[in-house]
Amino acid sequence: MNEYLPLATLLRLLAVLTLTLAPHVGHLPPWVSALIAGLIVWRGLTAYRQWRMPGTMVKIALALLAFVGVLVHFDGRLGGQNAGTTLLCVMTALKLLEFKGRRDVMVLIFLMYFMLLTHFLFSQEMWTVAYLFVCVLAVTAVLIECQHRGALSPRITLRKGGIMVLQALPLMVLLFVLFPRIPGPLWGLPEDSAAARSGLPDQMAPGDISRLIESDEVAFRVEFHGPVPPPSARYWRGPVFDHFDGRAWRDSVPTFASGLSSRLELLGEPVSYAIMLESQRGRWLFALDMPAARSLPDDAFIGREGQLLARKPVTERRRYELTSYMQYRLAPELDEHARKRYLRLPPDFNPRTRTLAATLRTHYTDDEALVTAVLRMFHEQPFVYTLRPPPLGRHSVDEFLFDTRRGFCEHYAGAFSFLMRAAGIPARVVTGYQGGQHNVFGDYYVVRQSDAHAWAEVWIENRGWVRVDPTAAVSPQRIEQSIEAALDAAEGLPGHLAARTRLRFYLEARWEWLNGRWNALVLSYGPELQQRFLERLGLDDLRDTILALTVLGTSILAFMGVLTLRQFAPEPVRDAALREWQRLTRRLARAGLPQRPGEGPRDYAARVAAVHPEWAQAIHHITQLYVRMRYLDDPDPAGQNALVDAVRAFKPRSARRRSWIRS
C-alpha cells in the first residue's frame, strides 16, 4: 500500500468514478451534474499541474453550500431516493477536495461500491445490471491498483479484478437464491418513485387515454393456461367511472374496501391465466371480465363495479393467478339508489345530445334496441377513430357527436355513456386495457400502456351490466387486431407503433421475451417465488434452518469484523512522556506542521523552530524534556510534571494568531 498516489492511478480512479456516477446524470439536478464534473476535472488538473489543495475553511464552506443547495432544490426533504442519491453523489465528489492519502482512496472506493447499489433504485433492467458488472470490475481493478506501490498496467489489474469478480459470482448466486427474502421493496420505496410511473388515470377526460398510447411501457404480461380467448374478448378491466361532471368521468365514491361487491353469476367455460404485473400507480390488478372470486390472490378483492383491487398500492412487480369466466351476469338487480346514480347527469350540458336521446327514446322503447341503434349510428355515420382529435369546448359531447365526429376511445365511451344516461339507461365508463400482443418465444401476451382502452357498460333488465364498446362499432380493427391496425399511419403514430419490418418485429419480440424472463425469474424473486423454488429443490423444510444459518453467519462475520477493527485500532499510549509529546505534535499538525513518519523528535523540533522562530525556545525545551524521559534516563515524576507543564503552556494557535498580527 502506498501513501501517495501515482498520477496515472489517480486519473484512472477519476475515470472509474465518472463511470460509476454517469447513469445518475439523468436523475441529478443539472447544477449538481455540472458541479460533480467540475470537481472531477479540477482534481485531475490539480494532480497534473501540482496545484495546491484547498484549505479547511474552503472545504467546509463548499460542503455546506452543496448541502444547502441540495436541501433547497428538494424543498427541504431529503427522504426521497432522488434527494438522497443527489446528496450522496455530491458528497462523494466533494471527497475529491481532500483526496490525498491511502485512507481517502479507500473511502472513495467503498463509496463507489455503495454508489453502484443506488442505481438499482432507478432501474433494474438487464442492461443496468450488465453496466454495473462493468463498474464493479473497474472499481475492483482500481482497488487492486491502489494497494500496490506504483501504477500498475490496467491489463494486470483488470485481469485480477475480473478473476475476483468471477470468484464472487457463485457466492452472489447462492446469496440471491437462499438469502431470506422480505416481502415488499427493501427500501420501502419512497413516494417520489411513483410519480414517474405511467398507468391508467384516476379520471377520464378527452385526451387522458390517448396520452398513454405514446408509451410503450409494459403494463403486464399474461400467460394463459388453456385456450386463449380471441382479441375481441380480451378486455382487462381497470378503473370504472360512474360520475360525469360535464368534462371528465370520475369515480363518485372511491373504492377502498371489499364487502360492497355486486352479485355476480358466472356462466360458461372458465379461462385460467397468470398475470405478471409491472409496478404502477394505484392499486389496480387487472383481470379479464369477470374473475371468479374464489381464484383471487389473498390480498385482492372485487370492488363495487367489478374492478379487481389490491389492498395496498402495487409499488413493485407482482405475479398472480386468476380464473375468469367470459360469460357472466353482473348485478342482475339494480336497486333504486344505484339506478339513480348511474343515470345522473350534470344539468346545462350538451342540450343537443339530450334532444337526440329523447328522439331515440320515442323510436325505441326497448333498451337493447336503443343501444343497437346508437352503435349503428356510430358505424354508419362518418365517425373517425383517430389519435389526434380536434379540441372540444364546453358541450364536449354535443360537439363531438354532431360537429367534429373525430375521436379516440375515451370520446366514444364517454359520449356513448352520456347518450345512454340521457335516454334513461343506466350506464358507466370502464377503463382498462384491450387486446395484447402475442410473444412467440415465450408463448405469452404482452399488454402495454399503448393498449389502454375505454369502453362502456349499460345495465339491461335481467342481463345486468353488459359491455358495449362503441369504438368497436367505429373501428372494428382496434378490437380485433391492434391499435396500430386501426389508426391511419399518416397521422403520425408514436415511434414504437410505426410500421415494423420483419427483422424489427423479430428483435422486438426477442428482447421483450428476454425482459419478461428477467422480470419473472430475477426481479420478482420474492418470498413466494423463493418458497416455490426451495420446495422444488426439496429444501423447503430447511427454510428456518437457512434463516438461522444466515443470521448466525452474519453475526459471525460481524463479530470477526469487530475483532479485526480492534486489532487495527491504535493501542492506548502507555508511555506518559509519549502521550504529552503526541499532544504537542497534534497541536503543531493543526498549525500545519505535522511530524513526518520517519522524523525523530530532535529533527522535528529543529524544523518547527526554523519555520516559527518565536516557538523555538518552548519547542526545544519540550523536546529536551521528552527525549530525556523517553530515551536518555529512566522516567522520573519530576521530569514528567515538567513536561506536562511545558506542553500545557505551549499554545501554537494563539502564537500563530499573534504572528499574523505582527506580519
Binding site: 509519549l578 520517519g598 522524523e599 523528535p601 530515551y631 536518555l632
Partner: protein
C-alpha cells in the same frame, strides 16, 4: 573542545576538509569496535583519512596494498629459520598493527581476502598452529574500487557483513577543494599534529560505548526498522539479527560522539545508511524499485 574525543574530531576536521559526517561515521565505527569499508574512486583522500585517524588517535598504522599475487602469509607473517638462534622465529606480517589500511581489497584473491576478514573477525591469527593475539585496539579500513574491473574479486555479500559500516567519501565541496589546493600538503600537515589521546584512552571509550543507554522506546524503533526491511517487496532479504546488533552498537557510538548518555532515534538514522547499505540485498527481479536507506527511514514511523 573539552574531551579528548572532541579534540580528536576537531583535529581531523582541520586535516580532512569538508568530510564532517564521514569522519564521525569512521570514528563511530572505530568506537563501536567495528571495521570500515570505503567504496570510492582513487584520490579522494581515503589513505589520508586513515593516516589522520591513526595519527590523531595515537595508533600504530600499517598499510597493505592488495594485489592479485598477494598471499595470506604476506599479511599474517611467516616463521623463518634463524640459523643464529637455531630455530624458527615468527616474523609478524603487517596485520599486527592497531590501524590497518587494506587498500583495494577486491584486487586480491578470495583466499587472501578471507585471511584478512578472518583476522578482522577473530582479532587473532593462527599461523602454523600457533594462535597469536592481534593488538588492541584493532581497526581495519578497507577500500574497494566500486567500478567493476577485469581481474578483481568483489567481496561477496557474506563477507561484506564483516564490516560494520560502508561509506563513500565523494568529492570535496568547492570551498573545501579550494582550501585543499591553496594550503599545504595534507600529509605534511599531518606530521605536525599531536595525538589527542592514547590507545588506552581509546579502549576506555570503546568500553563506554556499551554503556550508552538504549531505552525500550528506542529498541521498538530498531525492531520496526528491521521488521520493515524484511517485509519490503524490493528486497530479497532484510536485515539479519547480526545487522540489528551492529545498528545498535553504531548508534550507541554515534550518541557517545554527540555527547549523549542515551541513544535517540536521530542517532539511529545518522548511522543507518552506513550500517545497512551493504547488508540489504536487492531482489533482482524488481531491479529499479529497490528502496534506498533514506526511503526506508521515511517509511518507518518513529514510535
Amino acid at each position: 573542545m573539552g574531551s579528548p574525543l572532541q579534540q580528536a574530531l576537531h583535529k581531523l576536521d582541520t586535516i580532512i576538509l569538508g568530510k564532517h559526517t564521514q569522519l564521525r561515521l569512521a570514528m563511530a565505527c572505530l568506537l563501536a569496535r567495528g571495521h570500515l569499508l570505503i567504496e570510492d574512486i582513487p584520490g579522494v583522500g581515503k589513505t589520508t583519512m586513515a593516516l589522520a585517524l591513526g595519527r590523531v588517535l595515537g595508533l600504530e598504522f600499517q598499510r597493505i596494498q592488495f594485489t592479485s599475487d598477494l598471499l595470506p602469509a604476506d599479511i599474517l607473517g611467516v616463521s623463518v629459520y634463524e640459523s643464529r638462534e637455531g630455530g624458527f622465529r615468527f616474523h609478524p606480517g603487517p596485520i599486527f598493527a592497531q590501524l590497518i589500511l587494506a587498500d583495494e581489497v577486491n584486487r586480491a584473491s578470495p583466499k587472501t581476502q578471507s585471511a584478512l576478514l578472518e583476522a578482522m573477525e577473530e582479532r587473532q591469527v593462527t599461523v602454523e598452529g600457533a594462535t597469536r593475539k592481534l593488538p588492541e585496539p584493532f581497526f581495519v579500513i578497507a577500500t574497494q574500487n566500486p567500478a567493476q574491473q577485469i581481474g578483481t574479486f568483489p567481496l561477496p555479500e557474506s563477507q561484506l557483513d564483516r564490516f560494520l559500516m560502508r561509506i563513500a567519501l565523494g568529492y570535496p565541496d568547492p570551498q573545501a577543494e579550494r582550501a585543499l589546493l591553496q594550503e599545504r600538503e595534507r600529509r605534511d600537515l599531518l606530521q605536525e599534529i599531536a595525538p589527542a589521546m592514547t590507545a588506552a584512552e581509546l579502549i576506555t571509550l570503546q568500553q563506554s560505548v556499551k554503556q550508552v543507554r538504549t531505552s525500550p522506546a528506542l529498541i521498538d524503533y530498531l525492531l520496526a526498522l528491521i521488521q520493515h526491511t524484511r517485509e519490503l517487496p524490493g528486497l530479497r532479504q532484510g536485515l539479519s539479527p547480526r545487522a540489528g546488533l551492529a545498528l545498535r552498537r553504531a548508534a550507541q557510538a554515534w550518541a557517545l560522539i554527540d555527547g549523549r548518555s542515551g541513544v535517540i532515534p536521530e542517532d539511529v538514522q545518522a548511522v543507518f545508511a552506513a550500517v545497512v547499505g551493504h547488508r540489504l540485498v536487492a531482489a533482482p527481479e524488481r531491479a529499479g524499485s529497490t528502496p534506498t536507506a533514506e526511503e526506508i527511514l521515511a517509511q518507518v514511523a518513529v514510535p
